[in-house]
């Protein structure tokens, strides 16, 4: 006779209500392999009929050890790891890391690089929101939106491939600027997105925004207020949906975001529907930013000229002995920034993403810590989902838009 391992409720005694131990409520294990937990998230859900009594997120199934790994690599090489953190906002992960390194070393990215960074970061935001609108609509079983969103996302991925040769793990933004200048086709490709995209947003909205079934599934579901958001350190669209217009791009501008004219969309109800409206409007605003940045894209270099930190261009290496030596030193030993610790933030599609760097003067970071927005979002999940139906739990997970790579570093 094969032995069947029994799952004991005693293991959960401190997590679930006493009613679960008597069998009055049902403890349901959702995930880590479940179609709508958006990655490998495990939820222990206590159900009274179909109503969620308690929901316990269990993270760690995607732990990658990225932060620790980065501490074993030189500053330049560690950047490759950052792509893998929030794999829906890879450009932003690069950007925030580069901002921190630049703060540490005093490098300055040239205006052209800044403008391209803004374009790419906003395109990343759009593609992340596209995936979100697709999957969260799919969680409510509106399946067509997903494929429409994927169609547009492809256009953005093509731009990433155009500039960096990679669709997701780009590592295109480097400390001191960019890996290289964008190819000549870049502008036309981005213009096409700017031209087409607002119409496509209207298409998604036609399917969802006023759809009574969608309203029924989203309005009044997963409510949260500003105070709770602040208490749990929740940022991003979830916070803005409660009425507080906090956006790092406005509050603490980086890469020249202060030059662009855009609004921070807010809603007041703080439910799934409010988060939906905020994100849809954010896509429109991102298109606005991309268009403005494209219109005043300056000419010039895309890298800082400080050869102690930024490798020389390939063309110089054959011409100059110093360039060759710099290149060799930078890619073997790396650069040694001054001792100190810095913190830089960007606004990711999910909220405030920050990176803390501690330098001990060696070519490798002494400590890297990412402050990722998904962690607090996951922490408020029990608050959001309590008392709702299990079907809405799925919708709530979709609406806070967590990325598990972002949660487990």
């Amino acid at each position: 006779m094969r032995e069947i391992q029994e799952f004991s409720l005693d293991d959960l005694r401190h997590l679930v209500s006493p009613r679960a131990l008597t069998g009055e409520t049902m403890v349901l294990n959702m995930g880590p392999q479940h179609p709508s937990t958006h990655g490998v998230l495990r939820l222990i859900v206590e159900l009274d009929g179909e109503i969620v009594v308690n929901c316990i997120p269990d993270v760690g199934y995607l732990h990658t050890g990225i932060e620790k790994n980065m501490e074993g690599k030189t500053y330049q090489k560690a950047e490759v790891m950052t792509d893998r953190i929030d794999y829906m906002y890879t450009m932003g992960n690069n950007l925030v890391y580069c901002l921190a390194v630049e703060k540490l070393t005093g490098l300055k990215s040239p205006p052209r690089a800044d403008a391209i960074r803004v374009i790419l970061a906003e395109l990343s935001r759009i593609q992340s929101h596209l995936l979100w609108i697709g999957t969260s609509a799919l969680d409510l079983a509106a399946m067509s939106v997903f494929l429409y969103a994927m169609r547009e996302r492809e256009m953005i991925m093509d731009v990433f491939e155009l500039v960096s040769g990679q669709r997701m793990m780009t590592t295109f933004i480097r400390p001191g600027g960019l890996w290289r200048d964008v190819p000549s086709e870049f502008e036309a490709a981005v213009r096409e997105i700017v031209r087409v995209f607002p119409k496509r947003i209207a298409e998604y909205e036609a399917l969802l925004t006023k759809n009574p079934l969608f309203l029924d599934r989203t309005r009044g579901i997963g409510k949260i207020d500003t105070m709770t958001c602040k208490a749990w350190d929740v940022t991003g669209p979830t916070l803005r949906a409660t009425g507080l217009a906090h956006d790092v791009r406005k509050a603490n501008p980086y890469c020249g975001f202060e030059q662009y004219d855009f609004d921070i969309p807010t809603q007041t109800t703080g439910d799934v529907y409010a988060r939906y409206l905020v994100r849809v409007e954010e896509m429109r605003q991102s298109v606005r930013i991309v268009e403005q940045a494209l219109n005043k894209l300056p000419y010039g270099s895309v890298r800082d000229n400080n050869r102690k930190y930024v490798p020389p261009p390939r063309s110089e290496i054959g011409m100059s002995m110093e360039a060759l030596i710099h290149h060799f030193k930078l890619w073997t030993e790396g650069f040694s920034p001054p001792v100190g610790s810095v913190y830089a933030t960007v606004e990711s599609p999910r909220g405030e993403m920050g990176v803390f760097l501690e330098s001990d003067g060696s070519p490798k970071p002494y400590r890297v810590h990412y402050r990722t927005p998904s962690v607090p979002l996951l922490q408020v999940l029990p608050i959001l989902s309590k008392g709702h139906y299990v079907a809405d739990l799925v919708g709530i997970i979709g609406s806070i838009d967590i990325v598990l790579g972002d949660t487990d570093r």
Binding site: E50, L140, A142, L213, A391
Partner: protein, 334 residues
């Protein structure tokens, strides 16, 4: 009962069962292709010309899959449940006429397996039986998701049965008969959808709920219940559930066409009786397209809302529809 009559029945039953099974196979293909068009995809087009052999490939794949039965499942019921689901689906259309009587080899044949005088009642009865399969499947799997799915199915089907039954009464009143052949004949000049627009809508909504199609596919809600009642089924047993769902899709489209869209009625039917089945097929395809369209467009309605919708909106509306129909018939018909 003569041997000839028996043979006739056997052949007709065979035609229905084969027709339904082949129909099922091609409805899956139809749905996938149409859905793909809605979603800017191409859909399966590799197996055979334009994907025509895709259902064969799918069936072969499912036959050769390992047939798993969970350790702690109730084995007998677990095996029985798919059968209980498929059989009602197969026999449901037995009373639906496909065309006017035709003369073949000097003998007149009616184009339906049987024409019983309580055909509408028979349909309601058989659809009710098919609930058992789903409920038992959910219960016997010994899986929490499946149990939830099974429970949802029970609650949902019971609440929609009423509205469904009431939506049948409109055509029955108009035709003055429960026999589906009579109902079709009564629609020779005007389709009942003209007199019963509300009834037709109630019929479509409640049958979609009855067969668990999107947006009422609560029992198998992929997103929250992974696959609902059939989460533990694999291989051919899973295929049977799938088959039941799609056959029921065809069946409700056939019945809907019969009750509200004039069944096999159409122009030039008197001269060419063989046009009957073709008209019926066309109407069924149009309705099936509608079902796929709904699936491509709408999100899933929530379980409690579905119940509220069934009891608080659909049921009173259906009652009202009957009352108005009956009243008008008395006032007009005398």
């Amino acid at each position: 009962m003569t041997f000839g009559l028996f043979l006739e029945w056997a052949v007709k039953s065979l035609i229905v069962i084969l027709g339904m099974t082949i129909g099922f196979a091609y409805v899956t293909l139809f749905e996938r292709r149409v859905l793909a068009r809605f979603q800017v995809r191409i859909g399966p087009n590799r197996a055979g010309k334009g994907g025509i052999l895709q259902p064969v490939a799918d069936a072969l794949k499912l036959i050769f899959k390992e047939d798993l039965i969970p350790d702690k499942a109730d084995k007998l019921i677990f095996v029985l449940a798919p059968v209980l689901t498929v059989i009602p689906a197969l026999i449901i259309t037995g009373v639906v006429p496909w065309g006017p009587p035709i003369t073949l080899f000097g003998k007149q044949f009616t184009l339906s397996v049987t024409d019983i005088n309580v055909g509408a009642l028979y349909i309601l009865t058989v659809t009710s039986i098919s609930i058992y399969g789903i409920t038992l499947a959910g219960w016997s799997s010994n899986n929490k998701y499946a149990t939830l799915g099974g429970l949802r199915a029970t609650a949902q089907m019971i609440s929609y049965e009423l509205a469904l039954g009431l939506s049948f009464i409109g055509p029955i009143l108009l035709a003055g008969s429960m026999s589906l052949t009579e109902i079709v004949h009564a629609q020779k000049s005007v389709w009942f959808i003209v007199y019963q627009p509300l009834g037709a809508i109630i019929y479509m909504i409640s049958t979609i709920a009855e067969i668990n199609r999107s947006p009422f596919d609560m029992p198998e809600a992929e997103q929250e219940l992974t696959a609902g009642y059939h989460v533990e089924y694999s291989g051919m047993k899973f295929a049977l559930f799938f088959m039941a769902e799609y056959i029921k899709m065809i069946a409700i489209c056939m019945i809907g066409a019969t009750l509200f869209l004039g069944g096999f009625q159409g122009p030039f039917l008197d001269q060419q009786p063989w046009l009957g089945p073709i008209y019926l097929l066309l109407k069924v395809v149009v309705l099936l397209f509608g079902l796929v369209w709904i699936r491509a467009t709408l999100p899933r309605i929530r379980y409690d809302r579905l119940m509220a919708f069934g009891w608080k909106i659909l049921f009173p509306l259906a009652l009202l529809n009957i009352m108005v129909t009956a009243l008008v018939m008395i006032l007009v018909g005398g």
